[in-house]
């Protein structure tokens, strides 16, 4: 995964920005929902990366901080045109969100007191609960595989719910727990 030996021009930077702007503007939901669009734009149309590289990027995205779709943008941009390319692609990816969300938020502000909007939002909030419960179930099924997983899941939930321990600390502690557990396993084997 080396940076291609290319002269970094304004043209490639604006191409990166526009491509990722398009991806950000035309895909609903992040994560895997974005794959088909990424493939069409980056692999088929621009030929910047191969499909395997995108899948690799998803694997890395799962193990790094940040939003997976944005991380993919940074990665592709960096590969094509170095640091500036990474920045251009990332900004392209987040620009549509900035515009669309600010627009909706400012519109909603004016209508939030209408009874119909209040009723709709009350119904939506209930649906969001169901959707998010579903998300937790799916993530727990993927992440909780053994006794340590069950322990960390329960401990994480209880610590977050009932103690003032910062969430960042919980994440770091669980990473250490994973490393220590795997070391012990290695020693026993």
């Amino acid at each position: 995964m080396n940076i291609k030996n290319k002269k970094i021009s304004g043209k490639i930077l604006s191409e990166l920005y526009i491509s990722f702007f398009k991806i950000g503007a035309l895909t609903f939901g992040g994560g895997l929902a974005m794959l088909p669009m990424l493939k069409r734009e980056l692999v088929d149309s621009k030929k910047w990366v191969t499909e395997e590289e995108i899948l690799d990027m998803y694997a890395i995205g799962q193990c790094t901080p940040g939003i997976i779709a944005v991380n993919t943008a940074t990665f592709v941009g960096f590969q094509e045109a170095g640091i500036l390319g990474g920045v251009a692609a990332t900004l392209g990816m987040v620009s549509p969100s900035l515009i669309i969300i600010c627009l909706i938020a400012s519109i909603l502000k004016n209508f939030i007191n209408l009874p119909a909007v209040q009723h709709a939002l009350a119904g939506i909030r209930i649906m969001v609960c169901a959707l998010m419960l579903q998300t937790v179930v799916t993530m727990a099924q993927k992440g909780v595989k053994d006794k340590l997983g069950i322990f960390l899941f329960l401990a994480g939930f209880l610590i977050a719910s009932f103690t003032p321990v910062p969430l960042a600390l919980v994440v770091v502690a669980s990473a250490l727990a994973g490393i220590i557990a795997k070391r012990q396993e290695g020693k026993q084997a």
């Binding site: 790094t64 944005v70 939002l121 209930i126 994480g156 719910s161």
Partner: protein, 185 residues
């Protein structure tokens, strides 16, 4: 200085929310306890809108949170602060650590992080459920909103059906809005 607070908080979220957009949710929930940028109920609206508009959900939520806190400049600061840590980390990985995700220590760390991220999202969702499915009366007594619980449980049940699992969140959100208007929730 609200912009500096936004920068500090969202940079931190960008650094510690690992495993995708929804991993930012517990941190956004955490902010409701420390700042008056938005309430838990507003956070629920933010999730719904972020899931029904284009763009990565994690970015949409950060933009919305920043907007609620300090208008358009707040939205820009929150969003850019959220992506800044990953921007640096990904470029370093791309340059120096080609096989980063195959590294034994990284894999071991994620063996611990994955269940924890699920748990933290679980905590945030439980907080959402507590405020969305209860009614606070004028004498500040809180009771369970039984129709709400019934609707939520029914929807959750239907989501377990294979075909319905793949439905886009937007479909459910529209259904929720229609039910809300018809039943005057």
């Amino acid at each position: 200085m609200i912009y500096f607070q936004l920068f500090y908080e969202f940079f931190k979220i960008g650094l510690f929310a690992i495993g995708g957009g929804m991993a930012t949710l517990p941190f956004l929930m955490d902010l409701t306890a420390r700042y008056d940028w938005y309430t838990k109920a507003e956070l629920t609206n933010m999730i719904a809108i972020s899931q029904s508009t284009p763009g990565p959900v994690g970015i949409n939520m950060a933009t919305y949170a920043g907007y609620n806190a300090a208008g358009i400049p707040g939205a820009v600061v929150a969003t850019l602060s959220l992506v800044a840590p990953a921007l640096v980390i990904i470029m370093v990985i791309a340059k120096f650590l080609a096989d980063f995700n195959e590294n034994k220590t990284v894999q071991a760390a994620f063996y611990g992080i994955r269940p924890t991220v699920a748990a933290l999202i679980g905590y945030a969702v439980w907080e959402l459920v507590k405020i969305s499915l209860t009614i606070v009366h004028e004498n500040s007594v809180t009771t369970i909103d039984y129709p709400g619980v019934l609707i939520c449980a029914t929807a959750f049940g239907i989501m377990q059906i294979k075909y319905c699992k793949k439905l886009h969140p937007l479909v459910w959100i529209v259904i929720g809005a229609v039910i809300g208007i018809i039943l005057k929730l």
